[in-house]
Symmetry: C2
Subunit: 438 residues, 2 copies
């Protein structure tokens, strides 16, 4: 959520007059909580595949949007939405094949221990529901998250999102542990270090009379700066939270749906079976749909006592959109494409950055790649200003990425999964030009 | 949320074999938190206008769904969704005319004091965001709701939803007041009684060291049993919460978007300008979209400090759906239709029930009507079993309604706003048959 490269409304920008007027109207109508990407905001009017167009007909390579994971305006998803919306759109208090078949299909991609799926509309709602079920099932309140985590924006999950900044309140029932760190911690120590930090957080929580209900993390640690490796390093922390009577919740909103190129889910990279899995963003390619998968035992009492009804969650159109996304991922071989094109892109970026003092690391999995900008290679001091310069230079050059991490210094490259190798080469050229420019 | 008339999976029902199999698969895939309407659940496959069809081609008059407020599968809404989904679906960190124009149009229907709209995806998210902004802006935590209120299912707003039952935890920062009561309280005393209860709740809260941030209510008190009258009775409570330094939040998820037949919003019935307005269900006719309108001063600090980004909230497709719904309401004169057909329906139901000992009241506004079932007219003891019998009888007879209120004894009649007078007559006949039958 770090936005050091964001648009500053008080700084003059190179905008067409209509856009300046729209920004003013937007400020009046939507208020001060909304932010725009880039020093020169983008007014987009059309999208197709990995491409976006502005009102002047200028074309941009979208290397950042993981919502439209199977490509902007994919015709099969649009067709599925239209076909179902024309016929019926009710809710889950009537019988319908849609949510049942979709839940079955999602569960088929997951370990057998996960037996039910419940549907919500946003990643925030999915994490909020997971939290309600975990706390209710265990009769415990405590949750541990990483220091720059992002899990959503409801009151309860904004507590779990320290990347939102100090303004957002966090109660004693939420504790932080350091995220992984590829520059300062040797890979083989990553797992033990995370587990040791988790043990300390649980101890501090208990000293305040709070029992740990859950350790929740994004299984590739997107907001902490993207740390997919080494494979398996999550296991000691997961073993520990379970030994202490809590559960492990895998937040798959960012790594899920084939993003990492090897599996449907990021947790599969670690050979794990989570107690709960939350899903969102790419699930409907832009149609609002999200969900929670869980071990059946966790929801038995909650299901009987609290019930749960989400008016739009799992409605027939949402399920049609979700099914179409899974069809496209399979039919177009997008796991394989993410693995292959992502692997080649990561190698090309590593080549480009090799030996540079201002880039300390290039890492990633599938089509999710991080490039870490630093002031000097040895000290590894984060250089957020440099990352912001690069992001804005690339945007002016027609390639869209962003930056993340506690220092806002980690370039976040996360294109739709349909990216081709020739399109990846355009991205590499744009980063090369930005590195040469400043 | 009371579901005394719900399907009991352990009771044999008159189902086609495929439906019994689907119910079994559904229980396995979705788990125990999901409920089905009616003793004999409905497997729906098609909808159009106020009509729904099951797989056997049987037709049902939908007199309950307020999500598809402009009619099932309205072609103009489907067309707007399709047209936008084919062209672009991104989010609010790029410039786009959609959310700006839609926010401006919503604000044009509201008092001038409300200056910004923020977009979310569900009514729960809208109320959760309103709560975050209110608490942050006022530096206070306390909220007062009615005793059978429903405001959503996130952790924070489930606290504000006592109609979910005792299983759902409620902290000391939330206090309850009795909802209105048409049978036991004379209309002219309704306003003073609500304000007196609110004063007592604020006093009790303060005795525990909690300051009141907000009084939030559904402006027609849907879950408490539907109390739209007398007009203006909300004013003393609103004056009081403001005098005590808190704000008034109007939850328009149920009464909003022309449901009451006289205005866009239920609060307009009371001649009020709320400090915040939350919107949901009918906003996109089934497309997940919701929002919060607010006095600009409330969000100034939250906007700068917390920011707010909702990935799907206010995306171009959601805004296209919302705009199309407003177009249809205006083009088809649905305010006037709700007022006229709703008025005639209420009069016909009052005629039908006049002099009956088992119906104590028929009330409502526009196309939102309540029929209160009691054991005997004088004692006014709620008869939930009678209401459940009627709801299930009407369902077998091809007309869909439900029941609400603390005793589950209040028939809730809430058809799409396109209901015609001849269709309303079918509903009256079905209720007549149910009253004669048992």
């Amino acid at each position: 959520m770090t936005m050091t490269n964001a648009f500053d409304p008080d700084r003059p920008a190179d905008l067409v007059p209509d856009d300046a007027a729209l920004i003013e109207r937007r400020k009046n109508a939507l208020g001060p909580a909304y932010r725009l990407f880039y020093e020169e905001p983008l007014h987009l009017v059309r999208g197709e595949g990995v491409w976006l167009w502005d009102g002047q007909g200028r074309k941009y390579l979208d290397a950042y949007n993981n919502v439209v994971s199977v490509g902007h305006c994919h015709p099969k998803v649009v067709e599925a939405i239209t076909a179902q919306a024309q016929v019926l759109n009710t809710h889950t208090r009537y019988l319908h094949e849609g949510p049942v078949a979709y839940a079955e299909r999602l569960l088929a991609t997951m370990p057998d221990a996960l037996g039910h799926v419940m549907f919500t509309c946003t990643g925030s709602e999915a994490n909020d529901l997971a939290l309600r079920i975990a706390r209710s099932s265990l009769g415990r309140e405590g949750v541990i998250v990483t220091r720059h985590a992002y899990h959503g924006v409801t009151e309860a999950v904004s507590e779990l999102s320290p990347s939102l900044g100090r303004f957002v309140p966090r109660s004693a029932r939420v504790r932080l542990v350091d995220g992984p760190d590829a520059l300062r911690i040797p890979p083989e120590e990553q797992g033990a270090r995370l587990a040791a930090d988790l043990a300390r957080a649980i101890g501090e929580m208990r000293a305040d009379g709070i029992e740990p209900a859950a350790f929740i993390c994004d299984t590739v640690f997107s907001s902490d700066g993207l740390y997919p490796d080494p494979k398996g390093f999550l296991q000691p922390a997961v073993d520990l939270i379970r030994a202490e009577g809590g559960i492990f919740i895998a937040d798959e909103v960012q790594p899920g749906f084939a993003r990492t190129g090897e599996a449907w889910w990021g947790f599969q990279r670690h050979g794990l079976a989570p107690d709960m899995v939350t899903m969102g963003k790419p699930m409907g390619n832009g149609f609002p749909v999200s969900g929670v998968a869980m071990r059946p035992g966790l929801v038995a009492e909650f299901g009987a006592g609290a019930r749960y009804f989400n008016t739009f969650g799992g409605n027939p159109v949402a399920c049609a959109a979700g099914m179409a996304v899974m069809d496209v991922i399979e039919d177009e071989g997008l796991h394989e494409n993410a693995r292959k094109v992502g692997g080649a892109l990561k190698a090309a970026l590593a080549d480009l950055c090799a030996g540079r003092d201002d880039i300390a690391d290039v890492r990633g999995a599938g089509l999710f790649i991080a490039v870490e900008c630093v002031r000097d290679r040895d000290g590894a001091a984060p250089d957020g200003a440099r990352a912001a310069f690069i992001v804005n230079h690339m945007r002016r050059n027609g390639v869209l990425i962003s930056a993340t991490g506690p220092g806002g210094n980690i370039l976040k490259i996360r294109p739709p999964l349909v990216l081709r190798e020739d399109e990846a080469a355009i991205l590499v050229d744009a980063l090369k030009a930005a590195l040469l420019a400043g």
